[in-house]
Symmetry: D2
Subunit: 386 residues, 4 copies
């Protein structure tokens, strides 16, 4: 019998990290054939060339889709989505998948969902139903209404997707696949490499990172993109005050990332003695190990809400980006204020690591999702339940 | 004080017909400035060049957007959406509207919604919350989750939109603006022109249309596009059997319209004596008058469900396209079967016209919507209510 | 040794007809692998779906590229080229051809040439160096300056290409491949099918075509597209006056084809007794046989200048489209005037068929081109010779 | 009488610099109205945001066109052109210019030329007819065959354009407008600002630049883009050997610029003591003053061939990019070899500045071009002269 063809579209570094175990489980499933499409910022060097890690991890890529229109303003974000649809529809037409899988809520995700919908290809969505209060939420719920199958990460998400009118038999709380990797780290938490040595980057020298360090990951917020520079500067100032060695990761491509980058570059030129080291990207597992061994994660990345919950890493979550997302006990929320950020860092370091919180699942999401993909009835036709 | 700029995007003949009174009310509102964008099939001659009617009605068009990629297959439909986003984002950037208004649920509608969302421009949606059971439903609800304001056509639709997690204070049951025009017809129902004389077309001669006639309007169904030809042939055969003079309107551009057109052309060449006259388009008011004075409407157009409910016109509704839409007492539903269609036509003609059913509103939607647009707080940022 | 991959892009019905023997010769050449891409109007039903003939002729198509943006105005023609580049670059990236072959001078041809050039893929051009005096000429010579190899159709063309600064060792007068097919017809000229019976179409009944007939093929002229309707009406009127049975072929998609189509449709509705039969398309060989057996070809198609020269068919060439192209003795040139057209038809019928004129080659272009493609050094880098 | 509308499309920093005096002359001409479109890398921060200088110089921009698709591979360059055509055709349709002006030979230039051609808008080309031996040459001559008017920079270029079959009365040797600015510098050559102080950048401190300095500007070569990194490293090494303070300008966006940037970044991290200061961009006049006051220009920029000829600045020209361009006495040509580069630098410094060479004109190109634009007959229809 021919295998069911599952086409997964990866559009950004964090998406890959999140679904790596899903890709692995699909690849290893006897009834499934993995078709992997890589697009958006996942292909671009200045956002860390996630594609390199994907290929190093042993996945073969069926198609690369370049669709990022330079400009980093709102119109370019819209056009990037338009180009994404133009390009992905060709790819889907060539690959003829049985199911297309899209992840999360970024604008490239929307391109995948629209192309699949118009081409009558069954669409599965990972990480629907979550509440964040920012503009991504519109896109996320909008994709839910296009998707035929929903693999959600928490019980709250499952309830929300069903409330939106989706049929319960197509909504599955598999836990978040990102937790699968975090779970691996828990079983082997030793930091067996030096981040600066292995990954390069610029800033503070390797020797700085001996006795504990912070990790910072702060993305521009789509609907506040004009403030991106000021927002990142508050964090830079707080980290300067803390005077603790810091590993700082560059942000995603997005409206506002020019502002963020500018803030960082300008700071670096003025403040060359602050012990911050700037990095582009890491293999996902290495990244989680770096987090597990850090004093605290600072910023607005969803990794703080998800993986860090299961790994017990203290998090200072800044601003609105993770606004209303369900949170574990490991998170302190603060505003864009260097004072608030600085105080929260102090508090979290004093507190130390937390115990595991299973709010986003406990490590088997990849296998569960692959099993569902192998067994679900194919459909691209649905109607609201009420 | 400067007027609030309201940009309405018209993408197809039926959309224009539906929102004409909204355009009029915006244009006449002292606090609003109308920005009119015409795109998709509304610009194309083989779909009736709706733009001509728009301009004859006294509206000035701010921008014309050509985005229909020829091919009439599913991939082209997806690419048409992608091109729509590329082009509309430029238009929105030039016009800088305060609110963008999108209508209903076709694929061009999605392009408007995505471009508005990514550009942080408040989005109003007309005719959300309806249930039809076809692929358009995915798109309709997906747009609901992108829209900031909802102008729905029935109480059932209002309840559904709120259930999907939209804030009740931004969901308004204004009735359907298409009913505004139907209401005008009720106050002056006389057919004061001859359809064939005024609108040309090909087929049965003018003299045929003396003592009662049928109207047919049948669109291909997006997710059944391979059957488009067979489906239209059942209707052609039923009309041939009925042997009643018939005004037949060409379908929308859509996946499948090639099949529909082919079926019609092939029938015409074989059956030149059947009293069918084929027309491309009419001014909306004329079209409603033609319906009001017909024996029965046959096909799958939403006009049968909406305007005909208020005007009391008997309708034979074929197939799945209006599947689960709330219906008035004037509708009989049948399958793609010339026998069923033929029987239902006989029954409806015997029955005669029905009395008005206000299920989709009663004639003031345009004015209500314009008033809301003038007074609503501007926002492009929302979160689900649960 | 691996075969050299030759990617030929077919964009319209006439291009296919012209290079069919080239495709055949590449396919049969032991050192070559044919990669066939079909795009533009060659895929569209309303322009005759050339792809059907291509597949019936036993060619397998590697990729179909839908790029025609509806609108038939000048802006849409430009955008169709832009979309063509977007789509073809993906195709070329997937196919990785050693040489790309582009034919003639239409706007889709430009998309192929630009994509090949920017992707550093050697580009061969068939039918460069010709002079026509219309806007296509700009495009043709512009492609010459992008092309690495030139397969021209006449001695005059070869001299012109070299004068433009191309290296003589890369400019080959192979004759026009369209003549290869015309040559086959000469060896078996009997019309062994009935055009109306085999190809359908609408208009005059089959019986009309007993004792001699005209063929008409008239395309809109790109830089006179506003006059397209009037221009075609002069021809329609002339044919009506001639009152000779006529096979009329629908025009190419192009700026102006809406006008041409409109003129034809409107004429047909008024003048249903004129003995014209309208056809969409024919297999190339059948088409040449129809020409060989006609009294005269009327219009502005290049087939009148090329194939008809070798086959000795009398031609009435209208207007500017073939303006300055080298012509054989079989052609009379007239203006857009029903009087001039009518007189020339009378003259040509009186004259009868001419003898073969080898100005565009004598029947082995396909084989010569394939041989060159197999043996030429690969290069995408050139400089002007002066 | 209404003014003739002249639409100039600027696509990159160097293009602006080259035609600034043309823009000024059009703006000031009583019979002309300037329509300025800025696109491509001229809008992007990482290529110096030329738009800022344009606006500071007092030009108002009618439209900004974002068309650069990220990826910096050959397919992206092709797609960038395709997107350019899609976007520019909308802009031209909105602006309805009488003449469109395109500059030089980069891929964005091609998008302008194709859109203008298909839209039947008269096209003027500045800097045609030059010979460089690289891939840009194909594009340049290809644009010549699309352009209706030619404003060339040297007598050799004029002869070549005419030889290619252009009518002599539409080919004007106005000199290169870039020389107009160089001429201004000659009348006031004092360096009245400190480059590092005024323009920032990173690397060697300001104090380094006291007693003479080199300038480096090296672009990746389109058809050698895989070698971009190695090529730039040879120059970096040569400059390191020379040990003379150096102002180094970042390259254009282009296939290969990732490689160039990588080479530079990696060098900077290893060799922090080499006295190089890296800059993004300068106002054109400032840039020429910096050149005029330098010891020598190193790299492959056309500024070395043109402006430096008139200003007498010694130039070490590396590799194939300016291969066959007509050169003045101020240039030494070398290969991608740190040894050759280093030797040539030594020789040029010993030699000192040269006297003015008028090979590319003498300072009034802007005014001459504006006058022609005001008086030329409008045409978009031409034919080859032989």
């Amino acid at each position: 019998m021919s295998k069911r063809k599952i086409c997964v579209v990866i559009t950004a570094r964090p998406s890959y990290s999140r679904v790596k175990t899903v890709l692995q489980a699909i690849k290893e499933h006897p009834a499934l054939e993995l078709q992997l499409v890589v697009s958006g910022s996942a292909l671009l060097e200045r956002y860390g060339t996630a594609i390199n890690y994907i290929e190093q991890d042993g996945f073969s890529v069926n198609s690369k889709v370049f669709n990022v229109l330079e400009g980093e303003n709102l119109m370019s974000a819209a056009k990037t989505t338009g180009i994404g649809i133009l390009e992905l529809s060709t790819v889907f037409n060539n690959l003829q998948p049985d199911i297309i899988v899209t992840v999360a809520d970024r604008f490239e995700t929307m391109a995948t969902a629209v192309a699949a919908t118009y081409m009558n290809i069954p669409l599965a969505h990972i990480q629907g139903g979550e509440v964040t209060g920012n503009i991504d939420e519109k896109v996320r719920h909008s994709i839910t209404k296009l998707a035929d199958y929903h693999f959600v990460s928490s019980e709250g998400a499952r309830e929300r997707v069903i409330k939106m009118g989706e049929e319960p038999q197509f909504v599955f709380n598999t836990g978040c696949p990102s937790i699968d990797l975090a779970d691996l780290v828990l079983s082997n938490p030793v930091l067996d490499f030096h981040p600066v040595e292995k990954y390069g980057g610029v800033g503070a020298p390797k020797e700085t990172f001996r006795n504990g360090y912070l990790v910072v990951m702060q993305h521009p917020v789509t609907n506040e993109y004009k403030d991106a520079r000021r927002q990142v500067e508050e964090t830079l100032f707080a980290v300067k005050e803390a005077s603790i060695p810091t590993l700082w990761f560059w942000p995603n491509v997005d409206a506002g990332s020019d502002g963020t980058s500018k803030g960082i570059r300008s700071f670096r030129e003025r403040e060359y003695n602050v012990p911050i080291h700037f990095l582009k990207n890491m293999e996902p597992l290495d990244f989680l190990k770096v987090l597990k061994n850090s004093l605290c994660l600072v910023g607005n990345s969803s990794v703080g809400i998800r993986e860090c919950a299961w790994m017990g890493v203290p998090v200072v979550n800044i601003g609105t980006r993770q606004n209303r997302r369900d949170q574990g006990i490991n998170v302190i929320n603060v505003d864009y204020s260097h004072k608030e950020i600085s105080d929260a860092i102090t508090h979290q370091i004093a507190q130390g690591h937390y115990k595991s919180d299973g709010i986003y699942g406990g490590g088997s999401a990849g296998i569960l999702i692959a099993d569902h993909l192998a067994n679900l009835p194919l459909r691209f036709h649905k109607t609201i339940t009420y």
